[in-house]
Symmetry: C5
Subunit: 324 residues, 5 copies
């Protein structure tokens, strides 16, 4: 994710960081060169005049507009749904942690004082070891999800959050986050068995855990099902053919301004297609993808503050304004 203060209207015209220019430079140069060649040859190809005018291009523009509009909307919907799912992970882990801290009958019971004495959030020493392991395990679940979605090693970044035996087992699993989820469910099972968790409240926690697993499933859906490949093919071909033919259609009416206009049109089409490609798979590591690493640390920071732990440093954008 690119995080930077918005420049002024003038500065934004020349922003280099956050631009897609490098990724589409090849295609743009090709179109530019073609435009110059067409103008220099006065629109003839091998001594044969290409008789295109601007009119057919406005016809073609209709279908192209439909494709591009559809593509950009569908890609952004995927991006934003992915963001919502990860926002849900923060929400559900926070809720499960709050419930673990207030619903599980503690070994040392807080004596209810008079009504106006507000209960104090537990100091580090107050949280029992298994509650603490469960809360950190929630952060571990988020990390495990990130590992799965980014195809990273299944135990990456988990050693401080999950018990060693569980971490050791994860690389052997095909669906590692599900293994962590089962471990969390087993913890609830233990608390019920120890009668530290009442059935009615166990229901609330089971439902939260269900939702947490549902968020994982939603992310797997987005990661596993791209836009229909044929869409990309039709769009790509239409947009590129359009840009390759355009110089022939403009050269007779605007002459040496042709490369400028063709470059402008091509820039917007290519940049749009390239950006759609990028955010269509929002869990990648390209500049406009979601900052999963930062989100995972944010979740850990939230949970550790509930535990009263020292907090991890929040990631900052690098010198290219990128947050991974």
């Amino acid at each position: 994710m690119i995080v930077r203060p918005r420049p002024s209207w003038f500065g934004l015209l020349f922003a280099r960081r956050g631009s897609l220019m490098p990724r589409i430079a090849g295609q743009l140069l090709f179109v530019y060169a073609l435009s110059f060649a067409v103008v220099a040859a006065h629109g003839t190809l091998f001594h044969w005049k290409v008789t295109l005018t601007a009119a057919p291009f406005s016809l073609m523009g209709v279908s192209l507009a439909i494709f591009l509009g559809f593509r950009i909307n569908a890609s952004y919907d995927r991006y934003w749904e992915a963001r919502k799912l990860w926002g849900g992970v923060l929400i559900e882990t926070r809720n499960l942690a709050r419930q673990a801290l207030t619903v599980i009958a503690p070994a040392v019971r807080v004596v209810p004082g008079p009504a106006d004495a507000e209960p104090t959030p537990a100091a580090p020493g107050d949280v029992e070891a298994d509650v603490r392991a469960f809360v950190l395990g929630l952060a571990g679940f988020a990390v495990s999800m990130r590992n799965q979605l980014r195809v990273m090693p299944a135990d990456s970044g988990l050693h401080a959050l999950l018990p060693a035996a569980l971490v050791a087992r994860l690389p052997g699993l095909r669906h590692a986050p599900q293994g962590v989820g089962l471990w969390l469910g087993r913890q609830l099972q233990d608390w019920r068995a120890q009668e530290r968790l009442q059935p009615a409240l166990a229901m609330v926690m089971e439902q939260s855990l269900d939702r947490l697993m549902g968020l994982l499933g939603g992310c797997e859906r987005i990661a596993g099902t791209p836009l229909p490949f044929t869409y990309s093919v039709i769009l790509h071909r239409s947009a590129y053919c359009y840009c390759f033919l355009l110089p022939f259609g403009l050269v007779d009416s605007i002459g040496w301004m042709t490369p400028l206009v063709v470059g402008f049109v091509s820039y917007t089409f290519f940049a749009l297609e390239s950006l759609s490609d990028e955010i269509e798979e929002p869990f990648g590591v390209q500049p406009n993808d979601l900052a999963l690493d930062a989100m995972v640390v944010g979740i850990e920071s939230n949970l550790r503050e509930l535990l009263g732990d020292p907090l991890p440093a929040l990631p900052q954008p690098d010198e290219n304004c990128l947050l991974r």
Copy 2:
């Protein structure tokens, strides 16, 4: 579903696999031939000059754009909703399996150890036979759903997942997945009768089962109600008439470039209509339809890993990059 790494911008222009060209080749050739004939005859038909210009086509393009835009959006919404429903099947089966493994009071109770000893996922021998049958039955439900949606034999692929007596009964049922759902509900009933499932937690499992059956109902809705047929008729007629008339409108201004432009416009219109047709019925077996077979194996793989079973091989795209 077509699964392939995205080619470079240049390779994508000539991708053969994942293209719709074969399906629309007939229409395209017809339009091409017509265009050449029109240009050769200088836009006359039986010695009578067809006096069309480009102007009316931009008027017609407006209504056509509305139809196409609507059609593509509605079709993709159906496709993506179907995908979400199947994503939900993964989620709910996984949740029901986790609950069956942690909520059903086991015959051999795990002795709650000290808080820092994490509970171990059960080894194969640890899961009781009826819990195991229930979890596999969840995978069987997904397979049964696939059979229903793809009009396959009701017992196809179910022998390893459901009890033999139930499988034998399925071909006689009109709504086979509902029969599997009832069987799953009967299992919950037994556990409640045996007092191995507390009422409050039975509620959570009943609600998950309700949602699972709801996902089945959602898929039946998509499979049973196409887009209004009249839409397809209006769109089809408009798009084809447009393409058949277009050569007459362009021949006077762009001459021998007419076939190129007409071909370009026709390609995008026909390809778009054809693709919309394909993804409008997302449970079929055409290239861009959902890979139900692969999803069903994915669900089985998830559930078997929870049971500690050996995992089935995940399906891979075939030589045409197709995943069924």
Copy 3:
């Protein structure tokens, strides 16, 4: 609903069934006749030359496109939401039936066998009379909903599904489906009173019943609130004025091709408006409306299969491919 296999691209151009042509034939003939008259008179009206060109029509097309696009989307959203609500009726009745069969403590208790003996769906004789009445009553609720939405007699088709005394009372009620819903609720009340339904599971069934009544309310909302009437007026006037003026704008440039182009544009506009009208009220009996009769039989078929009853025949499309 029109149900037919999709014809080939060529056959679809001349499909008669499923076309709206008969409904818009009057308007189309009027516009055709006007076009011919305009061309014959060389665009003069009472010896006064109407000086329109194509340019203003592309300006007007912008606003018209907005209206049409909005109208078609809003109408289809209503249609599809209505379909989702009826899909929900299938889902909730099925869930309530499954719960009635597995959650209500039966008089003859199934003895829980060893874990690998799968429970058998009850044979007809196994279901108790009141559970059976409740399950059939769910089908009755769907029928009653259809009667209400299609303004049919309140007891139509209900004699086989609901107790005679209840059916006799329905025609006297203003909100008959609500009366059936109350009767279903009273049945749950009885089971609780007889201690055959535990409170935690009663909650699940009450929530399902709430959702079922909510689906009824959703359908009443769609049936009771059309699109703002003024929208229809503005759209209608704009589209018709546009088509009536169009011949004057085209006659000078395309002469005798004017009727063809005007007919084409009018066909798409009129057909679109007519179809939007039709699906905007999805509970009617026009060709593209929802097949409520078939859906009601489908629900009964599902529920009767759960009871082990002989199944009703599913309705088939008639000779005009219509399913009501």
Copy 4:
């Protein structure tokens, strides 16, 4: 809300009721007069020829189309969401009433008969006084909501539905519907205290009450937050400037047809803007706003039928086809 049978295609062209013509007559006459003046002066202004052509207007039309399309969609979404919220009020009040009638342990218990004797909906005398007060109080909540949204006196229309002491207190409250909601909650509290409402079922009713209050909150949100005012300003200025300049751009090519075309374009733009304005605030009393009065009576009718009371007459559209 305008409720009228749809006229034929011909009658709709001249429908007077349901048209916005009166509200935009001033602007339209201004534009008409301007157009005539421009044509009469041959496009000169103070002896200076205004050199506009049609081309710039198609450029401007692009941005205008975006604004108008956005505006109309956003306004209709507000309208339809408001309608959904009120549909939800019908649903939740009906559900709460059904629950009050079947879930609250009655003083006179219905003796459970044999399974085939269907339970009878209570006759007026059968419903206990406090259940009856609660059910009527639900209708009172809806009326109170209407009063709040339409800025009517807080006790208007409530004397037959709520206890006198509560009605007397409402005008003194800033958030009167919330006061009614608290009163409903207190009734549930009493039933729990009297042990006539079991905790698990109290949960269902509390959740329904939560949803009912949520619907109130949703309506307050729509009523309290209009579309960003600046949008309205930009749209208004663009549309009006466009219409004021248009005669200058058309006069040279279409002469005396200019007023006709300008009038057509202005009609659609002004009517659209005016309608958007109207439905953007759906709780008002303009012709296309929601018929809150009729909905409130409909809710009362539903609840009274559940109680077995005589039913209030349903409001009918007045001579202008208006339902308030």
Copy 5:
């Protein structure tokens, strides 16, 4: 948020307050000056004639329209979702307060009277101190959320709503609203421990608290993830280049009317982009952002009325019609 009665159609053309003119004056003046210079030089640049016509601009308009339409919709969706989340905060705090007042077993029990004696909302003296602290704490949660989203001091405005010890701790927390949420959860824990809150009803309150925390998470998501920065860059460049080139394309056909048309087009593009920017971050303090301060007071007003407290004054728009 700008709150003002809508002026007449004429007044709206010249509204100064609520206009974006000041923010885009620089760019507009630049474009104006450029247009005049281009007309004065007859479209030549350094004695070289720029040969642009209007045709390429209609081509470019297509892609620009797509970008602008996407941008405005995505920004407004963010704005409206943010508004829905804050509407949810009102709803959930109100529900939690109602539940605290009716569900928590009071020390002084209201004696249930005969059914027609309606229960009275508690007078100030009736509410116990800890229930009162909890209800005010809900308002404190909303204030804390506002502080977090607007990057204000964590204890700003909280001294009257939360216990002093908690307020003192907030500035030391990284996620202060979560700290308040934990405090609310601890209060529920105490009531359960004191057996004043039954488990089934505790579940309802825990779920409400979960939803309240979820709304916080939703707001953090919107605040933390802007639209992909690259979108803004592409849109900005395309729109500005378009406006800078436009005078060259129009000067030959419309001469001295060029600045007028260019100014009109630029005004709509620049104003749209600027407004999108503003509402994209809806929690800021710019004129069209959400009025969080007013909403927070509204929530406090609602809760204090439930407690029977004197009500805070509701904020009014300032002399510029602004509500912060």
